[in-house]
């Protein structure tokens, strides 16, 4: 496979060139050079991925690199799909990044360190799926963590929250690495080899206990990278604080590698995991989907909302992967292949529309400097193109027909509904609940993105910054345009991914024949009487629209549409402060899910000095804390700091104590020897 190999080498070369130019060139030239190199790198990754998912396989072994281990690379259909997704996102976001980093507000993003780290981060995103040995995978995994940490800390000088987010991100990512290192090292030890081929060969000989431990450790590590609930606190901190083009890359490409890891290790290398393991994955996915979208519904910070929505979408992906594993482990490969195909399609869909959402959010932040939805408004009139792109992406995110999110959720529901043919108590209980979770998260997602779009972009500006907003420069619009084309392409012509998905599923050891086929315009599930042609649905909708417009045109009186004041109940023109903000929009939902969210509200009244009855000022403050983080992480942090404080007594500085340690150590050892240990 000459093509894929040259593409990979080209990618590495461009990354190196990008990093050097990022570090050395002056500011203007640096941003453009890095943008072009990263875009080229994304293109190379995309071509390599498409070639691989088209059936090509290549592998490379570089013994010289990475002492005591050597670097192994290999690409097959599964890694090809993820490389293609990562490459596409990197390409579009790099083009967008040129405009974004050029602005005067982006002093942090355009600094040398960040611009040098950006191409390296993009390279790791493209290369992680190509790793083919434990050491190479961990090397690329940690390199991705380090470069993304540098990028998250781009604006660390301006805000303390960025620094705190950076520390949380570094420690949580290292927790993930420790779990992954333990799991993969145990796997390599049991399988007696380090390369993935050796792991595949040795996997059958593993004891169920070892297999279960490896699965739990590795799944936990990858779930934390995908932002699944118990290990998610870094996601709603790192994504909003990172520059928007970086959070687009992280949300659209990096979190997918969490899902890739679980599929690669559990399906391909381990050759299937225990049933309880898959139930765990499914449960984690479901919990993250609901909890993520609930927190998104409550968030009034636009980028925090999008970060929690990433957690929800990855939850849906893991529901698909968990269901596929469940069906496969009870010996039904057909529904398993379908569920896995649905999960992989949702990864692709989510990557494209989430990247576009973050890019649009980035251009809003660039134009207004605001992230708080409550103070935005009226941006549609001032930034029509960005509002248009945000609408296209929101349509994908709310998973309704003309959007691309609908297809993967439809496929996921089909696989779960038809999964009931698999016997067993667990499926009978788990599948309906999974369908209910998907439905609830889809419904809440609709509410979230109506809030984001309606409150953020429509009606009148609620702050001076929003009123002074201007449209983004063409560079950013072209980047967003590319992603919008991707969204509509995936929405209307899903069939083009069809055979790529089937091959990826076959690599995971599930599919014998093609699970879903389609002549480009239609998605037909072969073994089930279900098919979906999104193009026809869109055509029917436009026809209906034109018919209704024609109905009005014919019957209504000729004459222009008059502009009229909004109805003001006779009390004077409605001001911008009267319109609904994100917090008020979410108030009914918050009241419905009150016990889950446990909002903290405090009112403090400052009476006048003279008399307690006269009130000088009343301050109301309401905050929706991340409950799981409070319930799980706060005690742990308190315990650790307590341990640290009490441990200071171990080093009180007295020479007697220090020598006493030595003396008791000596006496203890001698006693052990005397007793004849």
């Amino acid at each position: 496979m000459k093509g894929a190999e040259t593409a990979a080498v080209l990618a590495v070369g461009l990354a190196g060139a990008g990093a050097l130019s990022g570090a050395l060139l002056p500011r203007r030239a640096r941003v453009i050079a890095v943008g072009l190199c990263t875009a080229g790198l994304g293109g190379a990754g995309l071509t390599a991925g498409l070639m691989a998912s088209g059936g090509g396989r290549w592998s490379a072994h570089l013994p010289g690199l990475l002492p005591m281990a050597g670097v192994y690379l290999a690409v097959d259909a599964l890694s090809g799909l993820f490389m293609a997704v990562a490459g596409a996102v990197v390409l579009a976001v790099a083009v967008y990044g040129i405009g974004y980093a050029g602005g005067d507000h982006a002093r942090g993003v355009a600094s040398r360190g960040v611009q040098a780290a950006l191409p390296l981060f993009a390279l790791t995103l493209v290369l992680v799926p190509a790793a083919a040995s434990v050491s190479t995978f961990l090397l690329l995994w940690e390199a991705m963590a380090l470069t993304s940490l540098l990028l998250v800390l781009a604006d660390q000088r301006d805000r303390a929250s960025v620094r705190e987010a950076g520390v949380w991100y570094a420690v949580m990512t290292h927790l993930g690495l420790v779990l992954l290192l333990a799991g993969m090292a145990l796997f390599a030890a049991c399988a007696g080899g380090e390369t993935f081929t050796a792991l595949r060969a040795g996997a059958s000989g593993m004891s169920p206990a070892a297999r279960g431990t490896v699965f739990v450790l590795v799944a936990a590590a990858f779930a934390s990278k995908a932002g699944m609930v118990p290990l998610h606190p870094w996601l709603p901190r790192a994504h909003p604080e990172a520059p928007s083009n970086v959070s687009a890359l992280m949300s659209a490409a990096m979190v997918n590698l969490g899902a890739y890891g679980i599929v690669r290790v559990a399906f391909d290398l381990l050759g299937g995991a225990p049933r309880w393991g898959w139930l765990l994955v499914l449960a984690a996915g479901a919990l993250s989907a609901v909890y993520g979208i609930l927190q998104a519904a409550m968030a009034s910070d636009l980028k925090r909302l999008l970060a929690y929505s990433t957690s929800e979408n990855l939850g849906l992906v893991l529901i698909g992967v968990g269901a596929a594993g469940l069906f496969a482990s009870s010996g039904y490969p057909v529904p398993a292949a379908l569920a896995l195909a649905a999960a992989l399609l949702h990864v692709a869909n989510h990557a494209v529309f989430k990247a576009l959402l973050f890019c649009a959010a980035g251009s809003v932040v660039r134009a207004t400097g605001l992230r708080d939805l409550d103070r935005m408004g009226g941006l549609r009139a001032r930034m029509p193109a960005t509002a248009g792109f945000f609408t296209v992406a929101a349509l994908g995110a709310i998973a309704l027909p003309p959007g691309n999110g609908f297809l993967s959720e439809w496929l996921l529901l089909q696989s779960l509904i038809n999964g009931l043919t698999v016997p067993g108590i667990s499926t009978a209980i788990v599948l309906p609940l999974a369908v209910a979770v998907i439905a609830l998260s889809a419904g809440l997602a609709a509410a979230v993105f109506v809030k984001a779009l309606g409150v953020g972009f429509f009606a009148r500006p609620r702050s001076a910054e929003a009123a002074a907003a201007t449209e983004s420069p063409p560079g950013m619009l072209i980047g967003m345009g590319l992603l919008a084309v991707g969204c509509t392409g995936l929405a209307l012509v899903p069939g083009m991914l069809g055979d790529g998905l089937s091959r990826a599923v076959a690599v995971a050891g599930l599919g014998s024949g093609p699970t879903l086929s389609g002549d480009g315009f239609e998605l037909r599930l072969d073994r089930l009487a279900a098919s979906m042609s999104p193009l026809w649905v869109a055509a029917a909708l436009t026809a209906g629209l034109l018919a209704a417009a024609a109905l009005i045109r014919i019957t209504a009186r000729r004459g222009r549409r008059a502009n009229v004041k909004l109805w003001d109940c006779g009390g004077g023109a409605p001001t911008a402060r009267m319109s609904y903000t994100a917090t008020s929009f979410a108030e009914p939902l918050q009241r419905v899910f009150d016990d889950v969210l446990a909002p903290e509200q405090d009112v403090n009244v400052t009476p006048l000095r003279e008399s307690a009855y006269l009130v000088e000022r009343v301050r109301f403050q309401s905050r929706i804390p991340d409950r799981i983080e409070h319930r799980v992480y706060r005690p742990v942090l308190a315990a650790v700091t307590g341990l640290g404080q009490s441990a200071r007594r171990l080093a009180t500085g007295s020479v007697h104590l220090y020598l006493g340690y030595g003396f008791f150590g000596l006496v203890a050892v001698l006693l052990a020897l005397a007793v004849g240990w």
Binding site: A69, A189, E194, V640, A647, L670
Partner: protein, 574 residues
Amino acid sequence: MTHATTALLLTAPIAVPLATSAAHAATGLRGVRPYRRAHAPRHSAALAHRPPPPRTPAEPARTTGSTAAAGGPATLTGGPPAAPPGPPPFATDGPPAAPPFATGTDTAARPLGTWLGLVSPATILFCGAALAATVPDRGPVTAYGRLLRADALTVWLLLAVGAVAALACAANPSHLAHERADAGAARRYNLLVHAFLAAMSAAVLAANLGVLWIAIEATTIVTAFLVGHRRTRASVEAAWKYVVICSAGIALAFLGTVLIYYAARQAGISEASALDWPTLAAHADRLDPAVTRLAMSLIVLGFGAKAGLAPLHAWLPDAHSQAPAPVSALMSGVLLSVAFAGLLRYKVIADAALGTGYTRTLLAGAALLTLALAAVLLLAQRDYKRMLAYSSMEHMSLIALGTAIGTPLAVSAALLHIAGHGLAKTVAFCASGHILRIRRTARIGRVRGLLAEAPALGTTFGLAVVALLGLPPFSLFASELGLARAGFTAGHGKVVAVALVLTLVSFAALVTRTARMVLGPPPEPEAVADGPVRLGAAAAAPLVAGLVAAAALGVATGPLTRLLSAAGEIIGRH
């Protein structure tokens, strides 16, 4: 490689540093003393100033009685008057006015000091490289009737000593310049540093276990004065603790050596070669198990003390935080590993005599205990130099864990870890020296926005800590990865898992502290108005070189691969 050249290659690393330190001593004696310090009336000067240079530094002459006490009691200077409980604000020398008696001669010594300082590390590196070309293929070489010997392990350590020494000696001039030390102190400092290098090279090259012990005890004695170089209360306290605890520990190790000697004599090995390592390693199976078991326990306790392992570890944070930056870099970077290499020699003997079980349990126990102590004490750490010292303890326990696992892969990983940690820790300590100079405080809480105020210094310090955290592309990542893989493959999964969790705890502690220091806006915005604090090319060069070397080692060991696996074979053969 004729016998003469090997003899030269083996003696040069010891002889040249000794010659350099003698040269410094000579300039001290010959130097014109233009003044005779009038014996000012003895009263405790209110504001302590730098005590006048002591008598000629050639030989720590027998100071007579108390009258010649150096300077009045150095009261606390600098730092806020209401010193909070807990570690005292760093008693810097205070901004000493240029000592009235700055002699004219020291400016002449300045250029002499810079390139003279680099001669000995260059020799060590050159000899190491020359030996590295031959030893892995043709086997060990000996000289002076089996007194000095170089096998793959020795060569690897020589290279590590040379590299770290090169960085530290390159950082010496800028450190001394900024300390505005007067000529006598600077001369005494250089003399001791080169003696220190000579002692370390001797310890590494020694084939006789007795000579090994003597060399390591010599390092303690030489560094005692280096730790106490600043003459403040804290450095005297640190020096005292360092000498007492290390000497007690090393004495136990000598008892262990004596018992090994006794067992060897009872096993019929002739008196001349009873302490010679190769013969001992060859005939170790004939040693009496009970005596060897007792001896090995004492040696792990003794050499463990010098290598920073529990239970006699407590001197390390005090000594490394009070010593001048290049010295603590040398001590943390490579002295701990040289002492640990001594322990490795004994491990080979004990494994042959007792089987690998005993030493593994001892070493793994000491390693986990030290790792736990370091992690817990890092959690609430408030002084960044002590933080770096505890990080050295953490890395030394990982190295001990690697050797405890014992397979060739594990030992190679441990050796690579020694080299990587040496380089990264040297850069970190030298950078911390500059931070101390710029911000005049060692408290983490009072250092803010380093990247904003001094970008070059902040970047190098940040990257050094990134390397210490075990992140790619630095070699500590590759070695920790190798360690974990070897541990699990050798069946010690649980021990390695516990170690990984403890490294996570210290990772978290290190990240929170370094982030607080390095990130953030500049402390006084107007201070940065006139441009950030420049570090200067001379001071930045060693730091950048160290980071580049650590990264290169992490990407590929290249020519050293053969040497590393050979060294791994020696220790982890069985």
